[in-house]
């Protein structure tokens, strides 16, 4: 409010110093808000137990990050890294397969006329509105019916379905894969499936990266499904493992340090994925938001 009145009073054609300063001030305050917790986590992860409580929480004591990681790797036969590996498999393989399946379905809905096409798309769209957590208990009931709870597959298989991915793939395929190119491939004698994998996927690449990233994040963050499905610690994803450790802090105080260092290590893969792929997802996001 104050910002808009300030801007309105300012000289018409050029932005005044005042409104520019106000804008930068908002940006700086928000930067602190968003980054200080992560900074705190990083600093806390570099400290040993005594310095965690005795030194300033927002600045370094002795730099023990690597010693802490070593202790974490030694604790309970390195079960933490087992959880990290599990998460990478659940999220990496799950998102890759989900992306291919969603891309094929979205492409087919965009490019072929077949009976029940709109109905199928609307049902899938309804699926977008049914969040993963709402399905956790129904899935648990179903898997327990066939005696498959507490297995790798009980968490992995449900994560292969991405209705939002189909939606995004359809929109993107209609706008960025011209019918002429498909027709040209047909005339060249390429089969439909081959055309999709050699021509269409290349044109749909930005959407595919976006679908992959979103599915990766949602599997990596998924908590309710593993919480309700898994009992065996060896199958835990990293979020569930750290959650269980966090509930034990009051009984086993030394575990707190492992929770903190583990929390830091668990967010690094996502940060790397986002930084590495940012030029893709920035374009892809817009296509989902506008239409």
């Amino acid at each position: 409010m104050t910002n808009s009145t300030l801007a309105r009073r300012a000289a018409p054609s050029r932005e005044s110093l005042l409104s520019r300063s106000a804008a930068m001030l908002i940006m700086l305050i928000c930067t602190f808000y968003f980054l200080v917790p992560i900074w705190w986590l990083f600093v806390a992860a570099t400290k040993d137990r005594s310095q965690f409580t005795s030194t300033s929480p927002l600045w370094f004591g002795d730099f023990n990050l690597f010693a802490n990681i070593g202790n974490l790797a030694a604790y309970r036969d390195g079960v933490f890294f087992r959880w990290m590996l599990n998460s990478v498999i659940y999220a990496g393989a799950g998102a890759a397969i989900a992306t291919i399946l969603a891309a094929m379905a979205g492409y087919a809905i965009a490019k072929y006329a077949f009976r029940g096409r709109e109905l199928a798309f609307n049902v899938i769209l309804g699926g977008v509105l049914v969040p993963a957590t709402a399905l956790a208990l129904p899935l648990f009931l179903l898997f327990s019916q066939v005696g498959a709870t507490n297995t790798f597959w009980s968490v992995f298989l449900p994560s292969l379905v991405s209705p939002f991915g189909v939606y995004l793939a359809r929109i993107y395929a209609s706008s960025s894969v011209p019918d002429e190119i498909i027709e040209a491939a047909r005339i060249d004698g390429a089969g439909e499936v081959r055309t999709f994998f050699t021509v269409a996927t290349r044109l749909m690449a930005p959407a595919l990266v976006t679908i992959f990233l979103f599915q990766f994040v949602s599997i990596w963050n998924n908590f309710f499904l593993p919480l309700i499905m898994l009992r065996d610690e060896g199958l835990f994803p990293v979020t569930l493992g750290l959650y269980v450790w966090n509930t034990q802090v009051s009984q086993i105080p030394e575990i707190r340090a492992f929770v903190i260092i583990g929390a830091l290590l668990s967010i690094i893969p996502l940060i790397i994925a986002f930084l590495g792929l940012q030029r893709f997802w920035r374009n892809g996001l817009g296509s989902g938001g506008l239409k």
């Binding site: 910002n3 808009s4 801007a7 309105r8 018409p12 932005e15 409104s19 520019r20 804008a23 930068m24 908002i26 940006m27 928000c30 930067t31 968003f34 917790p37 705190w40 986590l41 806390a44 965690f52 929480p57 927002l58 399946l101 094929m104 379905a105 087919a108 077949f114 509105l129 049914v130 969040p131 709402a134 399905l135 208990l137 129904p138 899935l139 179903l142 298989l157 379905v161 209705p163 189909v166 089969g191 499936v193 999709f196 994040v217 963050n221 908590f223 309710f224 919480l227 309700i228 979020t239 509930t247 929770v259 967010i267 996502l270 986002f274 996001l285 817009g286 938001g289 506008l290 239409k291």
Partner: protein, 301 residues
């Protein structure tokens, strides 16, 4: 003419080919969608209609069809409706605050007022890389009266007490998702051709005026999308309160609808838990459809 004559034959041949291709493309997704979306929902609904009958207090339990027995229990369950009320209150406050902040930051990033856009964009988006569970653990430490870097504040304000804990959780959710929503709105802003507001600028309109009269109406669809996803997320709140249970007794085992479902299923009373799930899912669907229809209507009028 000659082309027309052979066309029908070719087309029918191609249609048969395409049927195989369509099956290959759509089949795998359809099977998994059926198995892990539609069937579980149907099965949960079926289970919600069952009830357990015993011969005497310690007799053998048998599953029998109970009709709407579980739903009557759902409607009589005070803590469950309290939890629905709690997340609705949460959503009414948190979603507008979060989306308002996301919109403001997106508009600032899109305006010529700000330098260093690339840095700010990444800084605001970084929390999205932190899973809800981890974010809740982190903020749990930051709220703690002894371990927080802001003990001057946390020793005087009880962020984990019964009065404030809901809003402390709201802050965690806001912290994680502002950047994500900001990026969706920002991408929509980038897609607007600049010529649209070039004229307004030449007429001497301020940035605030351009934002209010031109940009915000044009990105309304993107805001609707983020609003729907935020509402869904609010009703599904689980990870953050579940983590906060370790930090404070103010978070009960029926704090949110999903916590109620989890607690009920762990008892185990899976038929009642299934009925809760169905009610929550219907509630979510109704609410997001209402938002969608409401915003579509106001956009048309």
């Amino acid at each position: 003419m000659t082309l027309d004559a052979i066309a029908p034959k070719r087309r029918s041949g191609k249609a048969a080919q395409h049927r195989t291709a369509i099956a290959i493309f759509v089949g795998p997704f359809a099977v998994l969608f059926l198995a892990f979306y539609l069937v579980p929902i149907g099965y949960a609904f079926y289970q919600s209609l069952l009830t357990v009958e015993r011969e005497g207090t310690f007799g053998k339990a048998t599953e029998v069809f109970g009709g709407l027995t579980q739903y009557i229990q759902v409607f009589q369950n005070g803590p469950f409706w309290e939890s629905i009320g709690r997340v609705l209150l949460f959503g009414i406050v948190q979603v507008p605050v979060m989306l308002g902040l996301a919109l403001l930051l997106a508009l600032l990033l899109d305006s010529p007022l700000v330098k260093g856009k690339k840095f700010f964009r990444l800084a605001f988006f970084a929390p999205y890389a932190v899973p809800g569970v981890i974010a809740a653990i982190m903020w749990g430490f930051l709220y703690s009266p002894n371990l927080s870097p802001f003990t001057a504040l946390t020793r005087n304000v009880d962020f984990l007490g019964a009065d404030l804990v809901l809003w402390s959780i709201a802050n965690v959710v806001t912290w994680v998702y502002v950047g994500y929503n900001m990026l969706i709105i920002y991408s929509a802003l980038l897609a607007i051709p600049t010529e649209i507001y070039e004229a307004a600028r030449l007429d001497g309109a301020s940035q605030a005026r351009i934002a209010w009269s031109i940009k915000i109406p044009l990105v309304a669809p993107a805001i609707t999308l983020t609003a729907i996803f935020s509402i869904i997320g609010t009703l599904q709140l689980l990870a953050e309160p579940q983590v906060f249970k370790s930090f404070t007794s103010a978070v009960t085992s029926t704090f949110t609808p999903n916590l109620t479902i989890y607690t009920t299923a762990a008892v185990p009373n899976i038929y009642l838990a299934a009925a809760f799930s169905v009610v929550v899912a219907l509630f979510t669907l109704t609410l997001s459809f209402t938002v969608l229809k409401f915003t579509q209507r106001s956009a048309n009028s």
